[in-house]
């Protein structure tokens, strides 16, 4: 619910939610008596919640639209690489953006066409409205649409599980969550690493945002300050994200 006094409520992107939880945990440890409530729901839901007062801070894992930028205060808390992931047995190790787009659009339907083994391609996408998906569409798909035959999963974890089990699968997900059981391909020649993101070599990057309506409440501001502080940023980096600046 709507928080007051020394409590802050956050709602929004399920991609940011895990990190926000970790931040909240540390924050309340440092500031006893403070209370941080973190909820999922999705990037857009986060914006709405802020708009209708359901939450103090919205979490958004995509760039704001022009209209949204006018409505909300935007706070960049970190950046996240978007990894293109395939099964561990898949020989394909690098792809161009053009090829990725073709694979997800359903124009390329056999792994042989991109240098892999003979076999069908099964793109896995995220649900409509997810920040990850919108970033992916903006960064990769452009005007083209994701194939309607693509499997839709509602979380990074589910995408990962599916890619882990299915040799034909290709998906996209938060770089910080890839782990070792699946492969992340190099895009346009750049390996998906934090360093490459920082250096601007790996181009599939999206912002992770906090948004508030007007000026944040003092309690909310105090939490945001913590997140942007070196301690907060270090925490995020430990979780696999790329710091805001």
């Amino acid at each position: 619910g709507k928080a007051s006094g020394r409590s802050v409520s956050l709602l929004g992107s399920t991609s940011i939610q895990p990190f926000a939880e970790v931040l909240a945990e540390q924050y309340t440890k440092k500031n006893p008596g403070h209370f941080v409530e973190v909820q999922g729901g999705g990037s857009t839901a986060g914006l709405q919640a802020v708009d209708n007062g359901l939450a103090d801070i919205g979490m958004c894992s995509r760039e704001l639209t022009a209209e949204e930028t006018r409505q909300f205060t935007r706070i960049l808390i970190a950046r996240d690489g978007l990894a293109i992931v395939v099964n561990a047995d898949n020989r394909v190790a690098k792809l161009s953006i053009e090829k990725i787009r073709a694979l997800f659009a359903g124009r390329l339907t056999n792994w042989r066409e991109v240098g892999g083994q003979d076999g069908p391609v099964r793109p896995i996408t995220r649900e409509e409205g997810s920040g990850t998906r919108e970033s992916f569409v903006r960064l990769v798909m452009g005007k083209e649409r994701i194939s309607r035959r693509a499997l839709t999963q509602e979380s990074n974890g589910a995408v990962k599980e599916l890619v882990k089990g299915d040799p034909a699968a290709i998906g996209y997900m938060s770089l910080g969550l890839v782990g070792k059981e699946i492969g992340a391909v190099a895009v346009e020649g750049a390996q998906p690493t934090t360093d490459n993101v920082l250096a601007g070599r790996y181009t599939l990057v999206r912002p992770l945002l906090f948004v508030s309506k007007g000026a944040a409440s003092p309690a909310a501001q105090s939490f945001v300050d913590f997140v942007l502080s070196p301690a907060g940023q270090r925490l995020l980096e430990k979780e696999g994200l790329v710091r805001a600046r």
Binding site: G42, T44, E127, G129, R145, L151, E154, A158, A169
Partner: protein, 286 residues
């Protein structure tokens, strides 16, 4: 006695308020959902397979097809298993064994749907992927999981229907030299037909309304399925998947999906009720 009348009035008010919940639900869902159907056009909304909310395309035909496919699949599995169980438990199992097995079926109904979905994803889906090909997440997987989930509903109503057949019919048939199985097929199933049909319809209602398990095992692709091994998205998963993110028209379109679901379920329930009422009516005459 006057006090009794007052109490009766109070209870009536409570009963009506309980039921007004339904009206309230209908009102809210319709208010949120109907406008967009009108705006997009019913033909477009129901008959187009193009669902691309970011571009303003709202067509739910794929989801209708998906719901239909998994519901029919679940019904087939549910019917076969439930009828078998109901017949065995009421006609062939020793009373002690039947009494021990019935709570087990109820337990099956108590398992949370997220658990069904989860177990389906980690066991059934890889099995299908390896044995039959395709992504595993499929109409087939969803049908099996849903079939198991609605089995308790169908079984328990079918058991009631079979038990409602007068014992004298069974005895009459057996005294004329029928085996138990002949009695089941020629007398019992015929006499209990409407009850069983009602059970199946209600079971299908359950299946079409189930959400979490389906999200996990159906694959949620937006295309109409061509085979049992294709992934599908159902009406319910569409709502649950996108609700969190939706705003504006998109959100309304999801409510419109809810309206569709609501109407389908209400039709199914009415059908089930009509079928079972016909049975009751007939019994009174007989």
């Amino acid at each position: 006695m006057k006090r009794d009348r007052l109490i009766g009035a109070v209870l009536l008010v409570v009963a009506l308020s309980a039921i007004s919940g339904l009206a309230l639900i209908a009102a809210f869902i319709f208010r949120e959902g109907v406008p967009i159907i009108l705006r997009v056009g019913a033909g477009q909304f129901f008959l187009s397979t193009d669902w691309e909310p970011s571009l303003g395309h709202f067509g739910i035909l794929s989801m209708l097809g998906g719901s239909l496919a998994v519901t029919l699949g679940a019904a087939v599995i549910g019917i076969v298993f439930s009828l078998g169980l109901a017949i065995v438990l009421t006609q062939f199992a020793p009373p002690g064994l039947a009494a021990a097995l019935k709570p087990a079926i109820e337990l099956l109904a108590g398992i949370p749907s997220v658990v069904y979905g989860f177990v389906g994803v980690v066991t059934l889906v890889p099995l299908i992927r390896h044995a039959l090909g395709g992504p595993g997440l499929s109409v087939l997987a969803a049908s099996i999981v849903l079939g198991i989930m609605i089995l308790p509903t169908i079984t328990s109503i079918a058991i009631d229907a079979l038990q409602a057949v007068p014992r004298s019919y069974v005895e009459g048939s057996i005294a004329l030299g029928a085996t138990r199985w002949q009695t089941v097929t020629m007398v019992l199933l015929r006499a209990a037909r409407s009850g069983i049909v009602a059970a199946v319809i209600l079971g299908m209602g359950r299946a079409i309304g189930e959400t979490m398990a389906v999200i996990m095992v159906a694959g949620n692709a937006l295309a109409l399925p061509h085979s049992l091994l294709d992934p599908v998205r159902t009406l319910t998963s569409n709502i649950a998947l996108e609700m969190g993110y939706a705003s504006g028209d998109h959100r309304q379109a999801l409510f419109a999906t809810g309206v569709t679901l609501f109407v389908i379920i209400t039709l199914l329930n009415t059908a089930a009720l009509a079928v079972s009422r016909r049975r009751a009516g007939r019994r009174r005459v007989g």
